[in-house]
């Protein structure tokens, strides 16, 4: 026993306390888990003057200890320890530090079975790492470097240090387990999201399949709407809502008679009435679904509204109309103009831009239109990282045409309400 009354005794106690304090700092440091466990082992060995030792993590599912760090063992020997039934309980029930040669009968099987590894480590002491009655690891400590037996004080300080390391090891294992769960959940979520996206795309394809002229229409409207939303700097959730809104905006057309959709002449009043019902039918379908992003049913209902209030079905005007609906309205019209329809051929991009300009302030929102123009300018001048519009158009853009279009883009538009 150290005599605390002697100067040497006090110094030894101070040294041991200092090591305990250092261990606390190591465990709470920002170091990697490997650094923390290795430093913890070195601190313990250096506190009791041992040249060899190792720290192991307990893997209950495999019934083994896996080495985390070791010291004083040359080369890289296989340092695994296997546990049989009853070994873990024996280590949990063991005293804080087990002297190998005085181990209880319950542990002799474990020690003899793992004789090679324990021999390579010259293990004189076994220090089980436990938290709340559960085994989390094991530390082996070699014989005293300076010779002689370990004192009771040595065993006590090792037991105290092992309690701190046990908590550190247990926390790390908990963290790893949480990380694994989070990773599994993330993969599951991504899988669900893929299924969800595929389902929405399948719906969009089913809508567009009613008419060969509108094949790919929903997909392009979604792409254009996303490009406008991103250029406007809208939050990611709103961008995602617009992508889905673009894909599903015409879902109400599922109930419209195919002969009306495909008709290549002027619609009768009755046919027009049925056609004009598709935004409200779409609203009825989508309002029953709880989408995680935004109000898709409202985007669908209002994609034929106009900023002057002369659209349908509700005649909402100006900023009372959702920004998302104003974006989809323009993206929808842009695609309608730049693709063939049963009743007319596609028109050129330049003419489309002129038409949009003409309708700014009545049909289209000026801010949204200007944003579309900015995107087109960026894409035509090669300043867009991911062009979404120009590659979708069935039109050849030679340098002369690009110049004309850019001129169109640069000639700003006037619209009611702006001086």
């Amino acid at each position: 026993m150290i005599s605390p009354c002697s100067v040497a005794g006090v110094k030894k106690i101070m040294y041991a306390f200092s090591s305990l304090n250092d261990l606390g700092q190591v465990i709470t440091s920002n170091g990697s888990f490997a650094e923390v466990t290795k430093s913890g082992l070195y601190l313990m060995l250096g506190t009791v003057s041992a040249a060899q030792g190792a720290i192991f993590r307990y893997e209950e599912e495999h019934g083994r200890f896996v080495v985390l760090a070791h010291k004083g063992v040359d080369g890289a020997p296989h340092l695994g320890l296997s546990l049989y039934a009853g070994d873990a309980k024996a280590l949990v029930d063991a005293p804080g530090v087990v002297e190998n040669r005085r181990a209880s009968q319950a542990l002799t099987g474990f020690i003899s079975r793992n004789g090679d590894t324990l021999g390579a480590l010259q293990a004189a002491l076994l220090v089980p790492l436990r938290v709340g009655g559960n085994l989390v690891g094991l530390i082996t400590v070699g014989s005293r470097f300076s010779g002689g037996d370990y004192t009771d004080d040595d065993l006590q300080i090792l037991a105290m240090m092992s309690q701190q390391l046990s908590v550190g090891l247990s926390n790390h294992q908990l963290f790893q387990s949480l990380q694994k769960k989070a990773e599994e959940n993330r993969a599951l979520y991504e899988n669900l999201q893929d299924i969800y996206n595929d389902t929405v795309r399948a719906f969009a394809a089913a809508i567009d399949a009613k008419d060969r002229y509108t094949q790919g229409h929903s997909d392009r409207v979604a792409r254009y709407a996303v490009a406008i939303a991103e250029e406007l700097g809208l939050p990611q959730e709103e961008v995602e809502a617009l992508r889905l809104g673009g894909l599903l905006h015409d879902i109400g057309k599922i109930t419209v008679d195919t002969s009306i959709i495909r008709k290549d002449s002027v619609l009768t009043d009755r046919e027009l009435l049925e056609m004009h019902r598709h935004p409200t039918v779409g609203f009825d379908i989508l309002s029953k679904i709880n989408f995680p992003w935004g109000d898709l049913s409202a985007l669908t209902r209002h994609h034929h509204e106009k900023v002057d209030g002369k659209g349908y079905p509700d005649g909402i005007r100006g900023e009372d109309l959702l920004l998302g609906a104003r974006i989809i309205a323009l993206a929808d019209a842009f695609d309608a103009m730049t693709t063939d329809r049963p009743y007319r051929k596609q028109i050129s991009l330049r003419e489309t831009l002129r038409e949009i300009k003409r309708c700014v302030g009545t049909q289209f929102d000026p801010q949204v239109a200007r944003t579309l123009f900015q995107i087109i300018e960026k894409e035509l001048t090669g300043r867009s990282m991911k062009p979404a519009i120009i590659p979708s158009l069935r039109e050849n853009f030679d340098s002369q045409r690009i110049r004309e279009i850019l001129q169109e883009v640069h000639d700003d538009f006037c619209y009611p309400g702006i001086a």
Binding site: A8, K12, Y15, Y42, L43, L45, G46, S49, A51, K71
Partner: protein, 117 residues
């Protein structure tokens, strides 16, 4: 003090390690690694000068035990110099001085080393 560093001076018959910085974390393992290198080169006598390392904690002690152990197994000798009084006492009660004597200065350590067969 900054990160632990070490200079090495080679003599014909021995090597002197000049440690610089606290030996209180895994950075101190440089001493053991360097020791392995010089043993491979054939040197068997090592002097460690701690004049610029006022703090050596139990991680440092563990590393120095590793150093002594390696040199011992290679049938060489190690001695220490310029330790603070506190560190000298720690080295004594931890048993390091049984295998690695401590000298107050480098001259005495060199004299001991040269006289050591």
């Amino acid at each position: 003090m900054g990160q632990f560093q070490m200079d090495v001076k080679f003599d014909r018959d021995f090597v002197i390690f000049y440690t610089n910085g606290y030996i209180n974390d895994l950075g101190g393992e440089k001493i053991e690694r360097k020791c392995e290198d010089i043993l491979r080169e054939g040197y068997r006598k090592v002097i460690v000068n701690f004049s610029e390392s006022p703090i050596i904690n139990s991680i440092g002690i563990s590393i120095l035990i590793g150093l002594i152990d390696r040199v011992k197994r290679a049938k060489g000798s190690v001695c220490f110099t310029n330790l603070t009084l506190n560190n000298t006492e720690v080295f004594e009660f931890m048993g390091l001085t049984q295998y690695a004597p401590v000298f107050p200065n480098i001259e005495e350590a060199v004299r001991f080393t040269m006289g050591h067969a």
